[in-house]
């Protein structure tokens, strides 16, 4: 029986695997005609379509009703999938996830740059709306952030699984699961904010625990609450590892936020000292300096967004690899 080596969407080589396993992966949508494969006798990798022995399997995959529609999950979701994920021991490979940040970017540089940029621009528009429209703006940001990020992570996941996806599909969240993604983003953010009022720590727990909720909705088409619960139950068992992984993956953003907090705090403490620790004078000074305070806010938001953009190029690979570790099938 022939053995094959494949190149995954993360650019890594997997195998050797038997032709039966390869057929299974084709049936599951994990490989497609353009996936790079090498037989034991081959010197170089070729497109899977060039292997006549898999033509039938690829043809079957392409049959309407079997292949997933554009923007849909490549992972087949059976009725017991949720139970199986909960039953198994979650395994978060810390080093592999951190390395995947670079390897995914290196193997799919053009795709990642374009997809990240599109998602970032959409996010920037939402942030601008939240800054300009009082009361309604932040609500709009909460509503649409989950939809955009859900679509973004889904196309990156499909790329990691070796599927052919275009960066323009990052907005597929609006087509595939708009109400559920909207509810996931909105409910998880608002409940975490409510939890923030209870001495911050519950909010930190929930932020980490619900981290994969939007990805689960986009990838598995789960009802939003099921996705939030599944994410919480699985992540809770590796909560500390996940917390550290998020800290490391988003380190530049985190450092900037701490710096910004100190800088803003210092600005207001200086004002407080200048006004002789008098609330009335402080309010008057703040009113007179409203324009400069606004400029300061816009400036720090823009710098924060630029750092977030650069950070996103790396951390996307980390997040989707961590998701595959926890919720993906235990195969390459």
């Amino acid at each position: 029986m022939a053995n094959y080596t494949i190149i995954g969407g993360d650019g890594k080589e997997y195998g050797p695997v038997s032709d039966a396993e390869l057929r299974q992966w084709i049936a599951e949508g994990r490989l497609n005609a353009e996936s790079r494969v090498k037989a034991e006798s081959d010197a170089e990798f070729r497109a899977l379509a060039q292997f006549p022995e898999f033509a039938a399997a690829l043809k079957q995959q392409a049959t309407p009703g079997i292949i997933a529609p554009p923007g849909a999950s490549a992972e087949p979701v059976d009725a017991n999938w949720e139970t199986n994920v909960l039953a198994r021991e979650p395994e978060l490979k810390f080093g592999e996830c951190l390395a995947a940040g670079w390897s995914f970017l290196g193997a799919n540089a053009g795709f990642v740059i374009a997809a990240v940029f599109l998602a970032w621009v959409a996010n920037l528009v939402l942030v601008a709306i939240s800054l300009t429209l009082p009361l309604i703006g932040p609500f709009i940001l909460l509503c649409f952030n989950g939809v955009i990020m859900g679509g973004f992570y889904l196309v990156c996941l499909r790329r990691l699984r070796g599927e052919t996806v275009s960066p323009s599909e990052v907005f597929c969240g609006f087509k595939i699961a708009f109400p559920q993604l909207l509810l996931t983003g909105l409910v998880s953010a608002l409940l975490a904010e409510l939890a923030f009022c209870c001495f911050i720590l519950p909010a930190v727990y929930l932020f980490v625990a619900w981290f994969f909720a939007v990805v689960l909705v986009a990838d598995k088409r789960l009802f939003f609450w099921n996705a939030m619960e599944l994410s919480r139950k699985v992540v809770t068992r590796v909560w500390f590892e996940m917390f550290v992984l998020i800290l490391v993956a988003f380190l530049p953003v985190l450092i900037f936020q701490i710096f910004n907090l100190i800088h803003t705090g210092k600005y207001f403490m200086d004002l407080w000292d200048q006004t002789g620790h008098n609330w009335q004078q402080l309010a008057q000074t703040m009113q007179s300096q409203a324009a400069s305070i606004r400029n300061l806010t816009v400036e720090s938001t823009l710098i924060g967004q630029l750092i977030y953009l650069v950070n996103l190029f790396y951390c996307t690979g980390v997040i989707i690899r961590a998701y595959e570790n926890l919720f993906g099938s235990r195969k390459p």
């Binding site: 909105l186 409910v187 409510l194 099921n226 619960e229 068992r237 009335q280």
Partner: protein, 126 residues
């Protein structure tokens, strides 16, 4: 430590959905009822959003007024009764807003409870 819910609750999608609506109503009163197909959710949401806007708008005005009149009502010669009367004139609207939010939240909570009871009765009947 228990890390997952009981198997029967996991197997009952109606119950899980009802819990989702409850969580949504907790975050945005009325939205969960609306998503669950209860038209009363519109009224709950209107009540909540109106209360929220009133709280924010008049709350900010109250803070501005308090800062502007701080010394007037907190000085050694200030009359506490006059201060309280003046404060009530400005604080009653934010209070009304908060009361509307709480009412919408309680109303949507009752709807969520009835949704949960309905799914429980349905699953018991099956």
């Amino acid at each position: 430590m228990r890390t997952s819910s009981a198997p029967e609750s996991r197997d009952d999608p109606g119950r899980q959905k009802a819990r989702g609506y409850l969580a949504t109503n907790l975050a945005v009163p009325g939205l969960g009822s609306l998503v669950a197909g209860r038209k009363v959710g519109v009224l709950q949401m209107i009540l909540y959003l109106s209360g929220f806007v009133i709280t924010m708008v008049f709350g900010i005005r109250f803070v501005e007024w308090s800062l502007a009149h701080w010394s007037e009502y907190h000085g050694p010669d200030a009359d506490p009764i006059t201060a309280l009367v003046a404060m009530w004139q400005h604080v009653r609207w934010p209070f009304l807003g908060v009361a509307m939010c709480v009412l919408a939240w309680l109303w949507s909570f009752i709807t969520s409870r009835s949704l949960l009871a309905e799914t429980k009765a349905k699953s018991a009947a099956h």
